[in-house]
């Protein structure tokens, strides 16, 4: 990690709701200055619309504040995730409250939406949310399925184009060796999730950047409630540096490209990355603060390689 000291990183996909303050400290120490938290599934299905409302509220409220206390600028994307789109009764209710959240400050896109099982219900709500994104002029963060990924990715792109969205407004996430070429060829942004075991490893990521370059490519951690690594972005930058990848390319895929893609929302001002650093520990959000004083940053001596 010494090699990348002083570099600044942007993680455009990380579920901080599921992470601890240790992770926030480690992110700040590693040079992550801003993050995007997509609305997603919490690991088990919700049973009512109120828990969705509270979750969306926490993304623009408490979690943003918690992040600021570590000097990290927090943005989010708001959407009805594909898994829970299958509960149609609930999905209808969520769609009623969703639009108002899309226009909140710091909401940089509609996400993460798309396909999981690739059911008709998932398609219905994916399409409905693409329309909302179009009207709001917001980028779309597409979650591509773990299973039957290649077809699911193609279908997600086909449908977005069918709805008249510009591929430059769409970030296709969770790519791998099998999907990247088509995503880039068709003009979409290609995001890669560095996530142990199930998604990309960062050694593979290095090979992808060597092969495809740095245009419209970005990496993220998608760290969540599973075994994941919130430091995936800086660790991948370090590994790229070690592997002889040009510093400018590293800068593009771990910082600049993601900002360029999501700043199309009009909601990202890079000056905020610095102002958020003026951490005032006395600040409270609804009477709560996360910093109790005396906390030491976690020192992570583990390898930079994530498989």
């Amino acid at each position: 990690m010494e090699r990348i000291k002083g570099m600044r990183f942007f993680d455009p996909h990380i579920h901080m709701t599921s992470r601890t303050t240790d992770d926030y400290q480690a992110l700040a120490d590693a040079g992550v200055v801003a993050i995007i938290e997509p609305a997603f599934w919490l690991g088990q299905p919700r049973t009512g619309v109120d828990t969705f409302r509270d979750y969306f509220n926490s993304l623009i409220g408490w979690e943003r504040f918690r992040s600021s206390q570590f000097g990290i600028k927090h943005y989010c994307t708001i959407g009805l995730n594909s898994k829970e789109a299958n509960n149609e009764r609930l999905a209808e209710a969520v769609m009623e409250i969703l639009p108002s959240f899309l226009y909140k400050e710091g909401v940089v896109g509609v996400g993460e939406i798309g396909f999981d099982d690739q059911t008709p219900a998932e398609e219905k709500y994916y399409r409905a949310q693409l329309e909302l994104a179009k009207e709001a002029g917001l980028p779309v963060q597409i979650h591509t399925p773990h299973r039957d990924k290649k077809k699911g990715t193609q279908r997600s792109m086909d449908i977005a184009l069918e709805h008249g969205l510009d591929p430059r407004m769409i970030i296709v996430d969770h790519n791998n060796e099998e999907t990247v070429k088509e995503v880039l060829d068709r003009g979409f942004w290609a995001a890669f999730t560095i996530y142990p075991f199930t998604k990309m490893g960062n050694e593979r990521m290095v090979e992808i950047v060597k092969q495809y370059g740095s245009e419209r490519i970005m990496v993220n951690s998608a760290a969540d409630w599973g075994i994941s690594d919130p430091l995936a972005v800086p660790k991948t930058a370090a590994l790229m540096h070690e592997s002889g990848i040009d510093l400018n390319d590293i800068h593009l895929v771990t910082f600049r490209n993601a900002i360029a893609a999501f700043a199309q929302s009009g909601q990202i001002d890079e000056a905020d990355f610095d102002t958020v650093k003026d951490i005032d520990q006395s600040l409270k959000f609804n009477g709560s603060t996360v910093l109790r004083g005396g906390q030491q940053p976690r020192i992570d001596k583990q390898s930079n390689i994530i498989r």
Partner: protein, 295 residues
């Protein structure tokens, strides 16, 4: 009127209760009898729910042992109870105590249990799917179980459960099988695996294998069991790749896949190895032996 159960509820209940009686203390049996009585007529939904949740406190959670791994609840319909804990068995039996005549009420009460269920309750509920009344009512719930992120819950839906193969439409069935591979389940324990094999699933699994290979990961040998009957010129190169694997169990899987194929080149490939061909023919090599070796 449409029949609520497609098995003989009274008979199933008696079979389950025999096993419960053999494994329970007097105290537990007394408690169960009291709950039955308190359930009342018409039933108190509150009592039904309370009892369902409270069962482990009064029965204990010991693993039961039986002579056979399943009970036969209807012709060709085994209900697996191997490895069950007593509380799980009592919960399944208790579900049969809810009157089913009023379909709307029945479904509402059972859905209420699912919505508030902890992990063990979910496992009991999903395992009980084949025994629940109004079988058509649980299709969406089954897909929710497949969507679960919790291992024991996924297993309750996927393994030894005859409900999904009998009631899921093809895309949902394919999703179940695909997710089972994705989460490293013992694939051979999926009920109806071969009967519901289909061309679309074979294509999904072949794409998945390509993705695994591109990532430098291994491909589960049993995946080829579901591709075998659908080998064509499009995926034959994949079978050849597995056939030439350095790993024995993968070569065995390729041989079995070829044996299940009517595609000429696949049969010719199998004929290249007299040894493997003979082992398949004599049933010394089967998908079960492959499964046993990777377990």
């Amino acid at each position: 009127m449409e029949q609520a159960y497609y098995h003989d509820r009274n008979n199933t209940e008696a079979l389950l209760f025999d096993i419960i009686r053999q494994h329970s203390t007097e105290q537990a049996l007394t408690w169960i009898a009291q709950q039955q009585e308190k359930l009342g007529e018409p039933v108190s939904v509150q009592r039904f729910n309370l009892t369902f949740t409270a069962i482990p406190r009064f029965t204990g959670r010991q693993v039961i042992s039986t002579d056979t791994p399943f009970i036969e609840v209807a012709p060709d319909m085994p209900f697996f109870i191997q490895g069950y804990t007593l509380d799980k068995l009592v919960r399944v039996w208790w579900l049969l105590q809810l009157p089913a005549a009023d379909r709307e009420l029945y479904v509402k009460v059972i859905e209420g249990l699912f919505d508030a269920a902890d992990m063990n309750e979910q496992a009991a509920l999903y395992s009980a799917l084949p025994l629940l009344a109004w079988p058509d009512a649980w299709v969406f719930r089954t897909t929710e179980g497949v969507r679960s992120n919790i291992g024991p819950v996924q297993e309750a839906v996927m393994l030894h459960n005859v409900y999904p193969s009998r009631h899921l439409e093809e895309p949902a069935w394919n999703q179940l099988v695909m997710k089972a591979f994705f989460t490293d389940k013992p694939i051979h324990l999926i009920a109806g695996l071969d009967e519901r094999a289909n061309r679309q699933l074979a294509a999904i699994l072949t794409d998945y294998a390509h993705e695994r290979w591109a990532a430098g990961r291994k491909v589960h040998p049993l995946l080829w069991r579901l591709v075998g009957p659908f080998i064509t010129e499009d995926n034959f190169a994949d079978i050849q790749r597995v056939w030439h694997s350095e790993v024995n169990v993968e070569r065995d899987a390729a041989a079995l896949a070829c044996a299940s194929s009517t595609y000429g080149p696949a049969q010719a490939l199998l004929a290249q190895s007299a040894t493997l061909e003979a082992e398949v023919a004599s049933h010394r090599l089967t998908w079960e032996t492959v499964a046993a070796r990777i377990a």
